[in-house]
Each structure stands twice: as C-alpha cells, then as structure tokens.
C-alpha cells in the first residue's frame, strides 16, 4: 500500500512537471474546460436553490385556489361562488382574493396590485409596495405613488410601508392597497373577486375537496398547492434540461477537441514516452501517468470551476445570469439565495464533464503507452 501511494505520488510529480512544461496548451485546455463547467454549474446551482426556495416559500401558499374559466381564459369569480365553496365540508378559511396586473406606462414595468386579507388591512389612500417597485419609482415611506387608471384618471396613494427586502423574491413587484381603492382603481363591481382561495381542514383530503369543488363549480379550474409546487419543480428541471442540451453541444465539441488533443501526440511527447519506456517504464506506468494527466486536468478544472460557480451564485447573487433571467422585465428582485446544493446535481455534472473526457482520452492514452521502447534507438 505504501509502495502504491508513493508510486502514484511520483507519477503525479512527473505528470505535473510535464503539464507545466506545456503550460500554454494545458492551461488553455483547462480554461476552456473550466468555462464550460462554470456555466453549467452556475445554472445548476442557481436553478436548484431557486427550486428549493420556491418549495420552501410556497409551502405556505393557499392549499386550494379556485379560478373561474370562461372561453379558456381566467375570468372574475362571483361572490355567490364563494358561498358555495365555503359550504363544502372540510373547507376552511375560504375567501376571495383580489389581485391583478398593472402596466406602468411611466417606466414600462408590470406591477402586481393586490388586496391583503383582513389581518393586514391597509387604510384607504395608502399602499404598501414591494422593494422592486420602490426602486423603480424611487419611493420612500411617506411619499406618494401616482397611478393612472385605464380611463386616464390619476390615483394618488401614500406609501405607508415598504415590504422587507428579505422577502423580495415573492414581493418585489407587489403594490398592496385597500379593497376600496382596488375596486375603484379597476372599476370592479363589488360582487366579484379575482379568484378564491381556501384551506382544508385535513390536508389528506385536498384532492377530494378539489374534486368536490370542480363538481359544484363546473366552470372553474382548481389549483392545489401540490400543483404549484410541482409546477416549480418541473419548471426548473426544464430550464436545466434546455441549458444542458444547449451546453451539451459545447461539451461535445470540447470532448472531440480533447480526443484530438490527446490522440495527436506531438513529436516531442512521443519521444518522451519512448524515452520513458526505454529507461524501464512499463506500459501500465505510462497508462497510469497519462490517466493522472486526464484526471488532473478534468477534475482540477471541475473543482476550480465548481468553487467559482458556488461563490458566484451564493455570494455574488449570480450576477452573470441576471440578464438572462431579467429578460425585458423592468423589475427584477434582488435576492440572496440560501446556499442549497443538491449533491445529485453536482455528481451529475461531474459525471457529465470528467467522465466523457477521461473516456475519450483512454484509447489515445493507450496508443501512446504501447510505443515500442526501442523507437528511440531506431
């Protein structure tokens, strides 16, 4: 065992010395490799922690949401429907929600206007806004938010509070106002809601109650919390899949490049291997040495890039990804993700990057290793 370790150490010594002798080429190779891994790892870490964030945050979302659907479109639901739903046995805390979108022509941002429940009542003429809105309109507590209705009427609302920045991931674009203001602003009749939400007394009965609701309100769509969670689950898997497919191409070309690089041994490398064999290295010594070379390059690049990606996502808020996520949106939440890593993803990434690289280099390595020892004498 001691001999084995010392042998590996000596081979690594020699390999690293060899890599350093061809510094430019090998560092270039590692840089390209690291780049690919860095992008992949950033996306993976980011999507996973977002997914985790979503599943933790939204685990308190309403258990059942009932939407009215007309002509396949989401429509306002009437007060009478709330009564129907409330009477279903097992349903608890059924209430109508009022929320909607508002396009702010002043800066091109989309806000989510919402009426909080009874607990969080907001006085008429006042609003609480998310930190993103506050940033976009440069507002502070006590200042006034002016909104124009679709009839051109100007609404003047005083900012009574700004939602905490810690909650920005869910509240960045919120504008909370009183029910009266909301209805006046959107000219909504008093007997309609955007949708209904309710909780269920026994959480095992969610599906049963959802079925009951769709039976009594056939023109509605019922969304359970599990649906929401699963939506976010597959959303981020999907994104990951797409990016992986795109970057898979990059990875493939990289592996072809690696193959090419390893199989096209330079004359000086062939000479070197010939010398090693001539002075008494065995085929398996060369194989092991060259395998170390592949492993050091690929695993080294992987570990380096992974560490960078980790820092990027969790300490620099994935700044490089922001333009992609932001799209055309004006409001983008500023948030710090809680470090949350999925070992499976990391192992997958490792599998995807280190594995094919080493596999692609096996045959070229072997071909190099079986050079005749007497080639240097011919």
């Amino acid at each position: 065992m001691k001999i084995w370790i010392e042998r590996q150490r000596s081979l690594i010594d020699f390999t690293v010395a060899g890599l350093l002798r061809r510094k430019v080429r090998n560092l270039g190779l590692m840089a390209v490799y690291s780049c690919v891994v860095f992008i992949l790892a950033t996306v993976m870490l980011f999507t996973h922690s977002l997914r985790k964030e979503a599943s933790v945050l939204l685990s308190d979302a309403p258990e059942i949401t009932v939407q009215r659907v007309i002509m396949g479109r989401h429509a306002l639901i009437e007060h009478t429907d709330l009564d129907v739903v409330s009477k279903i046995r097992g349903a608890r805390h059924a209430r109508g929600r009022l929320w909607g979108y508002f396009y702010d022509t002043a800066n091109g941002a989309n806000y989510t206007l919402m009426v909080p429940d009874k607990v969080h009542t907001i006085k008429q003429g006042q609003v609480q806004i998310g930190a993103g809105v506050a940033r976009a309109r440069d507002l502070k507590k006590g200042k006034f938010l002016f909104l124009t209705t679709n009839r051109g009427k100007l609404f003047k609302l005083q900012v009574s509070g700004i939602l905490s920045t810690e909650s920005e991931l869910v509240s960045s674009d919120l504008v909370l106002m009183s029910e009266q203001d909301y209805r006046n602003f959107f000219r909504l009749p008093s007997n309609v809601y955007t949708d209904l939400v309710l909780n269920v007394r026994n959480s095992r009965e969610v599906t049963k109650i959802a079925e009951k609701i769709s039976a009594v309100l056939p023109d509605s769509r019922v969304i359970t919390r599990d649906d929401i969670l699963r939506t976010y689950e597959s959303l981020f898997s999907w994104r990951e899949g797409i990016l992986l497919a795109l970057l898979g191409g990059a990875l493939c070309s990289f592996i072809i490049f690696a193959w090419d690089k390893t199989s096209g041994l330079s004359a000086s490398e062939r000479q070197e291997i010939g010398i090693l064999k001539a002075v008494g290295w065995e085929t398996s010594d060369i194989l092991t040495m060259k395998l170390w070379e592949s492993v050091l390059i690929s695993l080294g690049a992987f570990l380096f890039a992974y560490t960078l990606a980790y820092l990027h996502v969790f300490y620099f808020s994935a700044g490089l990804l922001e333009p992609v996520l932001k799209g055309w949106a004006i409001l983008y939440p500023q948030f710090h993700l809680t470090p949350e890593v999925d070992p499976l993803q990391v192992m997958t990434l490792l599998f995807f990057t280190v594995f094919p690289y080493v596999a692609a280099t096996l045959v070229p390595i072997w071909r190099a290793a079986i050079i005749d020892p007497d080639t240097v004498m011919r």
Partner: protein, 331 residues
Amino acid sequence: MIFHPVILALLLGSLISTLMILIGAVFGSQILRQWNLSSGSQKQLNMERRTYLISTFLMFALISELLSLLLYVYNAEQMSVQFVGAMCAVGTLNANIYGFPTLIAKIILFFCAALWLMINHADNQAHDYPLIRWKYGFLIAILPIALSTAGLQLSYFLNLETDVITSCCSKLFTPDGDNVTAEMAGLDEAFALGLFYVCLALFFIIGLRFYLTKHGHRLFALASAVLFIASITAVISVISLYVYEHPHHHCPFCLLKPEYNYIGYAIYLPLFVGTALGTGAGTLASFVQIPSLQETLTGFVQRLTLASLISILIFAGIVSGAIYLSALRLF
C-alpha cells in the same frame, strides 16, 4: 421519457461502459482462439498490448457502474416528487416494471466487474498469463449482463411517464404485500435481527478460519454472498426502522437522504466493498494451485480476505452503532 440531466448522464455512462465491455468481449473471443504466448509474432504482441487497454476499460466500467448505481438510486429518490403517489425512490422505481430489475442488474454487474478486475490483477502477477482464457471467458459471460443492464435501464427511462400512480415505500415495504420485498419487510424484527447477527458471526468465523488456515475458500465466497443478502434483508426489515426511529418505515433508500446524515452510504459502501472482496478472495483462492501463481496469489488472497473482514467489521460497527444510538426500542 423525461428529459432530465441525471437520466442523460446515466444513459451516457451506461452507453460508454457497455461499449467498453463489448470491445473487451470481442477482443476476449479473439484471445480465446489465438492466444499463443510462446510466439513472438506481431499478432501475439498486439494482443498482449491490447490486454492493457481492456483492463483499463474494465476498470473504467467498474467505476462507472459504481457511480451510476449511486446516481440511479439517488435520482429515483429525487424524481419521486414528480410522480403522483411516490414518496421516495421505491415509488419511482416502481413507476414501471423495469425499475427494480435494472437496479438488481446494476448490482450484479458491479460485482462481476469487481471480480473480473481481481482475477485480472492476480493474472498479471504471473509470468505466463495462467488465467487468460479464464478471465476472457468470464468477460464474454459478463457481456450479456452488461447488455441487459443497459437495455433494462434504457427501457426503464423510456417508459417513464410522470402521470402513472406508483406506490411508495410504505406500500411496497410493508408487510401486507405478497412479493419478495414484502416478505423481507414482514419478517419478525427480532428474528431478522437475530438472523443478521448469526450470519455476521458465521461470516467472521468462516473468514477468520480462511484467513488463518487458508482452508474453506468456497465456503468463504458463499458466506460473503449470503451475508450480502442477509444484510440487505436486515436493512429492509429491521435496521431501517432503527435509523428512521419509526416502527413501520422499511425503505432501504431513504437511508441515503440528508435527513439521516447520509448514513446509507456509510452502511452500503463497506457492505458492497466487503462482499466484492470476499467473493473475490474466495474465488481466487481456487487458483492457488497453479504453480506460477502460488507465491503471489496466496498473499493477494490473504490481503483481500483481511480487507473484506475489515470492511464487514466497519459495516457491522456502523449498523450496531445506529441501532444502539437509535431512540427507537423495538424489544
């Protein structure tokens, strides 16, 4: 099929390692026909050189199989969210009929590759390749296993549909089913635990006897294999209960979850290593009579046996520790 990075990685891994075993087997058949050590011809020389490539391939395939075994189970664990009714890996594996056969095939393939590498190592110690026909014959025998593992896995993933209602571990590993796993879970806990410790004790007696007297290698190989099955049974029927501190949670996969501090790895890794080394030592000992192997093989088998005993000792220690530290008291 679900478009998922892990699945792609698993398929890629199985493609590569199967291809490598296939190349090895094709080459093996050539060796079986044409090997002639006394010839100095270029053909013989080329064949000899290719043996290096094949051992590297097999080493690679072994590592790949080990990793993919982990990924496979872990992935099943994680994907369970996407299946209605599945709460852990068992549910995902039950999503279609190929799930569990794939798992079992992967385990078998892992042990075969490990055994092959041990035989290969022993053979390389001798001057005259005494086991060459043996080992390439074995490699050809591994090929169908590798192919069917890859095939099973492919069919499993191709037939994976998220809207299938699958069972979860509390259904499969609960006593009222009528399949093998249910039998395992349904064993009386005290009986299962007793059986497990009896098997452990027997394994150590047989192993120590083999280590000290070099007799009874077949018995030792058999004991390793039996202990593996007994251990898995014990994990399902009783050890998992202690880890989960829950009298009815029988799942062997949830052990791998972070909630239980990844204790599953600490349990399974030494068990797999110990079993592989134990069966390898027992099998190899039957070649000790070959003159050119006698001197090196004896030591090698001894080392393997010792390593196997130590691995199983670690396994037993961790399991016993988990039982001892558990808040659950069954008896």
